[in-house]
C-alpha cells in the first residue's frame, strides 16, 4: 500500500510517500512494524498523541482496520485557516 507522510513526520522519515509491503491488520500494527524496521520510523512515531492518521484520505484512528486500504497517511495535528 502507499504510505504518505506530511509536515514534520515527512521530514523525520525522509520521504513524502513510499510503497510498503505489509500484512498489518490495523494502523497501530503498521506503526509497530515500521518502527521495528528502522530508527527513523521509531523516532517519527514515538509520540502517538502528536500524530493523526488518514486511511484512504479519511481521518481515522490507530485502531482502524487496513483491510482493503490503498493509502495510509501520517501527519501532525492540522493547522489550516
Amino acid at each position: 500500500m502507499q504510505v504518505l507522510y506530511f509536515a514534520w513526520v515527512r521530514e523525520r522519515i525522509g520521504v513524502p510517500r513510499e510503497e510498503v509491503e505489509t500484512s498489518a491488520a490495523t494502523v497501530a500494527d503498521l506503526v509497530e512494524e515500521l518502527s521495528a524496521r528502522e530508527e527513523r520510523y521509531a523516532v517519527a512515531f514515538a509520540d502517538r498523541a502528536a500524530l493523526r492518521v488518514a486511511v484512504d484520505q479519511t481521518l481515522t484512528d490507530f485502531d482502524a482496520s487496513l483491510d482493503g486500504a490503498r493509502e495510509v497517511a501520517f501527519f501532525p495535528p492540522m493547522t489550516g485557516g
Binding site: A7, Q57, A73, M78
Partner: protein, 147 residues
C-alpha cells in the same frame, strides 16, 4: 458550493462580489478572510503551507456539506491557498450566503472551526532563526465542542 485549493493569490473583492450576486434568494452574505500574521517579534519572512492533495478537497467539501445540512444556506465558498506566502498575504477565505444573517454567521464560524483542525493543511513559519512547524492549539480542538 465551490471549494478551491490553489497556490495562486485570489482577489477577495472580486470573489465576494461574484458570490453575493449568484443567487436571487440571498438576503445575507458573511465572509471571513485569513491573513498571514507576522510574529510578535515582527521577524516572519514567509509562511509555507503544505497540504494533502485529494484529501484536502474531500475534507473541505464534507465540512461544507455538513454546514449546508445544518443551516439554511444558499451557497458556500471556500478558497484556501498553499505554498509560499509572505506576511500580509491572504491565506484563505470562506463565504456563506443565506436568506437570513444568523445562518450565514453561524455557518461561517462552523466552517472556520472545522477547517482549522480537520482539513489537512500544515503551516510552517520561516524566520531569521530558521523554519518551524506551527503547533496546533488546544483551543482550536476545543472549539469543535460547541457544535
Amino acid at each position: 458550493m465551490r471549494i478551491v485549493v490553489q497556490d495562486a493569490p485570489f482577489d477577495l473583492g472580486e470573489e465576494a462580489g461574484r458570490f453575493a450576486q449568484a443567487d436571487a434568494g440571498v438576503g445575507a452574505v458573511v465572509t471571513f478572510t485569513g491573513i498571514v500574521r507576522n510574529t510578535a517579534a515582527g521577524d516572519l519572512k514567509a509562511m509555507e503551507i503544505e497540504h494533502y492533495p485529494g484529501m484536502t478537497e474531500a475534507a473541505l467539501t464534507e465540512i461544507a456539506e455538513r454546514a449546508q445540512t445544518r443551516w439554511s444556506l444558499s451557497d458556500v465558498l471556500v478558497i484556501h491557498r498553499h505554498g509560499h506566502l509572505t506576511p500580509g498575504e491572504m491565506i484563505m477565505m470562506v463565504a456563506t450566503a443565506a436568506p437570513h444573517r444568523a445562518d450565514a454567521f453561524a455557518a461561517a464560524e462552523y466552517l472556520m472551526d472545522y477547517l482549522k483542525s480537520r482539513a489537512p493543511f500544515w503551516k510552517r513559519e520561516i524566520t531569521a532563526d530558521g523554519a518551524a512547524w506551527v503547533d496546533a492549539k488546544d483551543e482550536d480542538e476545543a472549539a469543535l465542542d460547541r457544535w
